[in-house]
Symmetry: C2
Subunit: 355 residues, 2 copies
C-alpha cells in the first residue's frame, strides 16, 4: 500500500496470469495457447511492415483489420471493434456498459478476470453458482441485472452453451448489455455473432490468441450493433488512441483473411482433445465435455494440487486453481499429439506411483 | 448517446488524434513523428521473432525491455514500468495516482489528452494559465493540489523547463504525485530521471514514438520509485496483463540498446529545427524557442487556419488547433531537410500571395 495510490487502486486485486517460464524446457499446457504455429501468411504480412514506416503512427481506426473481420463474419464494418487482446476489449466493455449502481452477473466459476474488472470499475458483481455439473442455471441469468458476462465455452470448465440458451438470456432483459466472451469458440462451439443483428444489447468478444495462434501479438475484437461499438470507441479514445501497432494490425488482418488455415489447425486440436479425453477417462479421470482447446479434469483418488506439482517436476506445466469448488481439478491445454502423449504417459505413471 | 453507455461514458469527450492519411502523398508534419527511420537493430530484432513462437503469450513483466531501459538510465529495474505507448502509461498514471476528491493541476495550453484522462477518471482538473510567452507560472504549480502533470518540453509550444523549476514544484508538496511527461525530452531538454531517486512523488514518462522513431509499435515507459511503479502494475494487471506484444518488446529492447543511433538522429532533427526557425523568423514569423521535434509558429499578418488549409491543399500537413489563445498558431513537426525546404518554399509563396 502507498499513500500515493488512490482509493480504487488500494482496493484492487489484480489478475495473476498463468506462468510464462522463460526457458522453453517445459511442455506448456497451462495457458491455452495453440500448439500449432500461426498462419504463414500472417508472419509474411508482419515481415513486410518491418521498415522505415514504423516511424509513423498506425491507423487509429484499424480500418483494414476491421474490414477483414467484417468480411469473415459477413457483418457491417461499423459493428466491429478491435483492441489489444480480448482482455483489453473486455475491460473496455466493463468500463463502458456497466454501472456501479446495478449488479453485473457472472458465474462463480469462470474466467477470473471478470471479478478483477468489476473491482477496477467499482462494480457490484453478482456471483451466480454453476450447478454441480458446472452448467449455468439459466433462469438465474435471466433475472434482471445491470449486465451479464458469459464465456462460451466457459473457462476453466470448457463447457459450451447452446445458442437458444443465450438467446433466452439476451431477450430476458433488453435494457442490459450481455457480453458473450468467445475466446475459445472455434474449438467446437457455436458463435453468437449471428445474433448480433437481432439484439442491440449483445456484444460478442473474440481473440486471435487461441484460434489464430497469435497470443504473442495481442489482438482481440468485439462484434455488436454500432451503438455498442461507438461506446467502446469513446472509451478507447479517452484512454489510448492507438492500441494496436502496425505489425499487429498487419499480422492480424492476414490471419483473419486466412482463417481457413486456423480452422484446419482447430480440427487437429479437437481430434487430439477427444483422443486424450477418452484415454484419461479410461485411466479413471473425470473429464468434463469440452468445446474448447483445454480439458478440465479430476480424479476421485488423486489430489489435484499434488498432481500439478508432480507434473511440473517432470517438466509439464498445467493450471491448478486453488479456489473453492475446483481445487480438485486441473485445467490442461491441448498440445500437439506428441506433447499430449508425453502428458498421458507421465500422468499415468504418477497416479500409479501414488497408489 | 445510448442507454447502454454508463454515466461516465455518456460524458466523455474523447481525444482526436492528428490525421493519419492513408495515401503517403503528403509531406506529413502534423503528428511529430521522427523523419528518420528507427534503428536497423530494432528492425532486425523484430524480424527475428516472427516465427512459431508468436503462438505463445509475451512476458507479462516485460523484464528484458525494462532491464534495457534501467541500464540506459542507470536506475534499478524495479523503477521501470512499460506500456502500450506513453498515452497508455499516462492514462494508467491518472487512474492510479489521482483522486476525484482533489484537483489535478495542468496548464491551460498543453497536451490535450490530459483533460480527456481527467474526464475519464471523473477528476476535477485545475487549469493553470500559461503566461503570454507560454511559460508556466511556477508559483501556481507549487500550490497544494491532488497532483500535477507537466510535459517537458510542453506541447504544442515546445518550451522546455529547467530542472530547478521542476525540483521546486516536486518539493512544494511531497504528498502529491508529479508526472513529468517527457515525450520530447531527447530533442534538447534535460530529463528529470536523475531526480527520481530523491523524490518518491515523481513519475517521469517517456515514449519510443518520437526519439526512437517507433510510433508504429506503441511503446512508452515510466520511471519512478517502486512505490509508484507497483501502483501502476496493480492497475495494469487489473485491466490487461499483456499490454506489449512479443514483436514490440523485442523491437523496443533493441532500440533502447541502440539509443546512440537515436541520439545521432535527434542531433540532425535539432540542426534542421534551428535552421528552419531562423528562416521562418526572417520571413516574419514568430517562432517560439523549441526543445522538441516541432516548432510553434505564428505570423502577425497571416491567418493561421488559412495557412493550414493552403498548406494542406499544396500537400503539406501541419497541425492547427482551433482553441482559445493558440488559434493564431501552427505546430509544425520537423521533417527531413528536404521536407522542410519544401515546407519553407511553399510557406513563403503562400504568404507572398496573401499580401
Amino acid at each position: 500500500m502507498s499513500k500515493y495510490w488512490n482509493e480504487r487502486v488500494q482496493k484492487l486485486e489484480p489478475y495473476v496470469p498463468g506462468e510464462q517460464p522463460k526457458d522453453q524446457n517445459y511442455i506448456k499446457l497451462n495457458t491455452n495457447e495453440n500448439p500449432y504455429p500461426p498462419s504463414p501468411k500472417a508472419l509474411e504480412a508482419m515481415r513486410d511492415c518491418l521498415d522505415a514506416r514504423l516511424r509513423l503512427y498506425p491507423d487509429p481506426n484499424a480500418s483494414d483489420l476491421r474490414q477483414a473481420i467484417a468480411t469473415y463474419y459477413d457483418v457491417p464494418v461499423d459493428t466491429v471493434f478491435v483492441g489489444n487482446g480480448s482482455d483489453e476489449v473486455l475491460a473496455f466493455a466493463f468500463m463502458t456498459f456497466f454501472s456501479p449502481k446495478r449488479q453485473v452477473a457472472f458465474a462463480d466459476i469462470t474466467y477470473s478476470f471478470y471479478k478483477v474488472y468489476a473491482n477496477l470499475c467499482s462494480l457490484d458483481p453478482r456471483s451466480i453458482p454453476l450447478d454441480d455439473a458446472f452448467q449455468i442455471p439459466v433462469d438465474a441469468f435471466c433475472e434482471t441485472s445491470g449486465g451479464v458476462v458469459l464465456p462460451n465455452p466457459n473457462a476453466p470448465t470448457g463447457r459450451g452453451l447452446p445458442i437458444d440458451v443465450l438467446r433466452k438470456i439476451i431477450e430476458a432483459d433488453p435494457d442490459r448489455v450481455v457480453v458473450i466472451d468467445e475466446a475459445y469458440i472455434n474449438f467446437g462451439g457455436t458463435s453468437a455473432v449471428s445474433l448480433v443483428k437481432d439484439y442491440p444489447n449483445l456484444l460478442v468478444v473474440q481473440t486471435l490468441s487461441k484460434f489464430a495462434a497469435l497470443a504473442g501479438i495481442r489482438v482481440g475484437f468485439a462484434i455488436g450493433q454500432p451503438e455498442l461499438i461507438d461506446g467502446l470507441n469513446r472509451l478507447k479514445n479517452s484512454l489510448n488512441s492507438y492500441t494496436l501497432d502496425r505489425v499487429a494490425l498487419a499480422g492480424a488482418q492476414a490471419a483473419v483473411e486466412d482463417f481457413a488455415y486456423s480452422e484446419e489447425m482447430a480440427r487437429r486440436v479437437i481430434a487430439t482433445r477427444e483422443r486424450v479425453s477418452a484415454e484419461l477417462r479410461e485411466a479413471g479421470f473425470d473429464v468434463l465435455p469440452s468445446e474448447s482447446n483445454f480439458i478440465f479434469i479430476s480424479h476421485p483418488e488423486h489430489d489435484a494440487e499434488q498432481l500439478f506439482r508432480n507434473l511440473k517436476a517432470r517438466g509439464i506445466l498445467v493450471r491448478y486453481f486453488n479456489q473453492p469448488r475446483i481445487s480438485d481439478h486441473l485445467r490442461v491445454s491441448i498440445g500437439t499429439d506428441a506433447e499430449m502423449d508425453a502428458f498421458l504417459k507421465v500422468t499415468k505413471e504418477l497416479i500409479r506411483e501414488d497408489r
